[in-house]
Amino acid sequence: MDQFTINLLFVGASFALYIGIAIWARAGSTSEFYAAGRGVHPVTNGMATAADWMSAASFISMAGLIAFTGYDNSSFLMGWTGGYVLLALLLAPYLRKFGKFTVSEFIGDRFYSQTARIVAVVCLIVASTTYVIGQMTGVGVAFGRFLEVDNTTGLFIGAAVVFAYAVFGGMKGVTYTQVAQYCVLITAYTIPAIFISLQLTGNPIPALGLFGEHAASGEPLLAKLDAIVTELGFNEYTAHHADTFNMVLFTLSLMIGTAGLPHVIMRFFTVPKVSDARWSAGWTLVFIALLYLTAPAVGAMARLNISEMMWPNGGVNGEAVTVQQIETEDRYDWMKTWQKTGLLNWEDKNGDGKIQYYNDKSEAMQAMAAEKGWTGNELTKFNRDILVLANPEIANLPGWVIGLVAAGGLAAALSTAAGLLLAISSAVSHDLIKGAINPSISEKGELMSARVAMAVAIVVATYLGLNPPGFAAQTVALAFGLAAASIFPALMMGIFSTKVNNTGAVAGMIAGISVTLIYIFLHKGWLFIPGTNSFTDADPLLGTVKSTSFGAIGAAINFAVAYTVSGMTKPLPAEIKALVESVRVPRGAGAAQNK
């Protein structure tokens, strides 16, 4: 059986499973559609939240970004897990106690203002849509590879599947489907990592293998990797090269953003009790950590394998891999299959029949290249987003592992895209239409408008996904910045302050998200349209602050504006103070709330 058929079988079987579960648990009433009837156990909820959370960015993109940058991209690891501490301590239990369906409902009630609710909805839609763009980038890569078509075709097919999938089930379908998706994605991520860790270090646990010994050389794996990449003129893998201030801000933005993303927060409305909301955040992080502790090992080991593969005869001082080897040898098959997607390419620039892979920006390497007659790096294109999906092929693992990874990548992208679309559609239909524009809308009309909103969101995301503002994880990082600057501060002040009033909260959210959005658009192009940017992240407007790191500053602006404006306007009414007091204690939390 060829690889294409195996991939098709694995992907087909996993899809059949999800669809089966979705039909079995098909949503009925609106309340079930949004919050799964609130009868979900914390562990189950944790697993589903983990699947919802770990998107194409975590599964497909993150290890690739770590692999090619090393230590400097540790921000993704700390940022996307550290946010759960904020979520568990500062938000989850209180929002569950408050007991409504959506994040913007809390903001609307707590700040006793319809305007606050609508501003929150708009912030939420902006952040979620940006997030979906990142997912579509990943979906394009995954479908492109497994159907062996180019990236753009893959993206269109993927978009159609995501839409069909999200529209036919509500949250309940999504909750149990996501448990299945978690199982598929974690198996798909871990199994190749175990194989590769065994090959390289003899240790079956990749997270330990990373700090273990490289079996072939007897040196520590990371020391070996440092030696190989510096030999090729790249930065030392484990060393700190990035700007420290930007790294701190970026990590903080990802953390705050995690705690401000509506599709994750919504999850904590679905547990039966306040105490369960606390546990649930912990369980979610357990399931996320299983992947996040493996990811840095996947990155480092893949980088080592690729470097050795391009220089199979004893490193840079031996001979580079030949074009003929790439075209004929089985172990280079992955390069040919990925070339079809347009995301990997090579070119024998100096016509010596070999492909030299090195950092042609490094001065030492330029001197060496001049001496040896090289005319630039010949591995001309290596999209970071292909690394995880290509990893089992690079390590020459059996065909079924490759099929499994294809299914896992799709599970990650689909589950998150579906969760986000749900958040967007409930924001539009429940908060915007039912809450503000037409309160007398029928339940059927509400469901209908939810589906229309989903369709619009996916069309926009697909269009922008064709020219994404970055690799999947980078685009997703922008979404986190937007959530960090708008939703998180409003929620936190809503719970922890009895000073911040309606005007303050609205002014804070508007200031936070506008400044952040403008900063992002200045660097990534207006509405992410390429070529309309005035600055680049290589040379940002403010010192070393990249657009992906700006969320933390946006959040600070939000807090500052909210407190200042509240200080100048009328204090909170007594009943809102009472509401804040009651949110702070678990007693009296409603059971499964239905309308």
Binding site: G82, V85, L90, P220, L222, V248, Y292
Partner: protein
């Protein structure tokens, strides 16, 4: 419903636990993982230093401990102050 003075004590106890947890949260990630990494460079672990380990693994493990510890303490605190769910 418990009276207000008990609720105030409950809330300040909660805030204290949150503060301590967040200090640890910041120290392991922004501290050990990034800013204080040079200080930990002397402690070798698997071909690199302890700061690298905190940045790529250690902080995540500490985050997990922090959340479960918080859930446990708070659920106990709820009962002590009589504000738990019945």
């Amino acid at each position: 419903m418990a009276d207000n003075s008990s609720n105030d004590a409950y809330w300040s106890a909660n805030l204290r636990i949150i503060m301590i947890s967040l200090v640890i949260w910041a120290v392991v990630s922004f501290g050990f993982g990034i800013l204080l990494r040079p200080m930990l460079s002397g402690i070798a672990i698997g071909g690199t230093d302890l700061g690298f380990w905190f940045a790529q693994q250690g902080s995540i493990i500490v985050f997990l401990i922090l959340i479960f510890n918080y859930a446990m303490r708070m659920n106990k605190l709820d009962r002590e102050h009589g504000v738990d769910e019945e």
